[in-house]
Symmetry: C2
Subunit: 192 residues, 2 copies
Amino acid sequence: MNWSHPSVHPVEAPPLIITDGVGGANNNNNAVVAGGAERVRMKDVQGMPGTSGGLILRICQFVFAASSLSIMASTSDFISVTAFCYLVAAVGLQCLWSLSLALVDIYALLVRRCLRNCRIVSLFAIGDGITSTLTFAAACASAGITVLISNDLGICGQNHCTRFETATAMAFISWCAAAPSFLLNFWSLASR
Amino acid sequence: MNWSHPSVHPVEAPPLIITDGVGGANNNNNAVVAGGAERVRMKDVQGMPGTSGGLILRICQFVFAASSLSIMASTSDFISVTAFCYLVAAVGLQCLWSLSLALVDIYALLVRRCLRNCRIVSLFAIGDGITSTLTFAAACASAGITVLISNDLGICGQNHCTRFETATAMAFISWCAAAPSFLLNFWSLASR
């Protein structure tokens, strides 16, 4: 399957119909119907797959998720709390997903290929939606436990409160970088 | 401000330009430019503001959020756990938001007015995004605590585990009804 296509030149056939969006409302849409097969080109928005903004978002997601994973895994007793185990699993998945998509972005930028077609953006939007929701859920569950330990029960002396808090904060920051990726992909999917 | 407009008839001025979407990709867009002022009409999708599907989603959100709120508030010791207090606040906000929008939907359905213009859908999308994120975060934090109490520590004898679990489950169901409202509004905003 040829999911990516050259972002600049050449086009395979001269466009038969080029129509701009309707009124001012659709000015970000360009549809090129070439050779009988319909192609939908999405507008370049920094943060989307195959852009440098998208690569920066992926690197942020990966770095903060990996930090969260390593800080939480460095505590000896995280395994006794289900929410912390779930955090490790969720940020592990976020790491793998973000690293894979960062590599795809690097490839697309190096060979100047455009990744913004409908199928690939759908795949990225679904993957981003699932991983960011899992990361956010894990961060919230860990935050609930951390606040219970440190504020409500005040038993930080027996626990690694600082490490739990840092790992939770890193997971939240990773989610803050993952959410724009999801929203941008979802937006461009809807506005195709 | 006249944010709503008649959904069927009459139109105030004959449409000057009626253009369908571009190719097959934008066949759900209709733009009517009338009297120099641009109007964007969005497609009727069940679940959007002003539809019976939207009203059902709002009622589900309200009923489950109100159940979660009342079950959690009926326990005497929820106030000692920050995450449970946060759950009460978040589902309280969700109740108010969903009830308000259910009333707006009922009004729109009764007087047959269409609520799907750009400003109102933006407002609803932002509101739905904020309230559903807060409800989900609260549900996840409460779930973390509930699992800690019942599974990890096994101290259900001293706590109202069943009520905590039921309130958390109700909050999750309320979020499950709120997320489609947000996604539909966001989608229709992007595809306008």
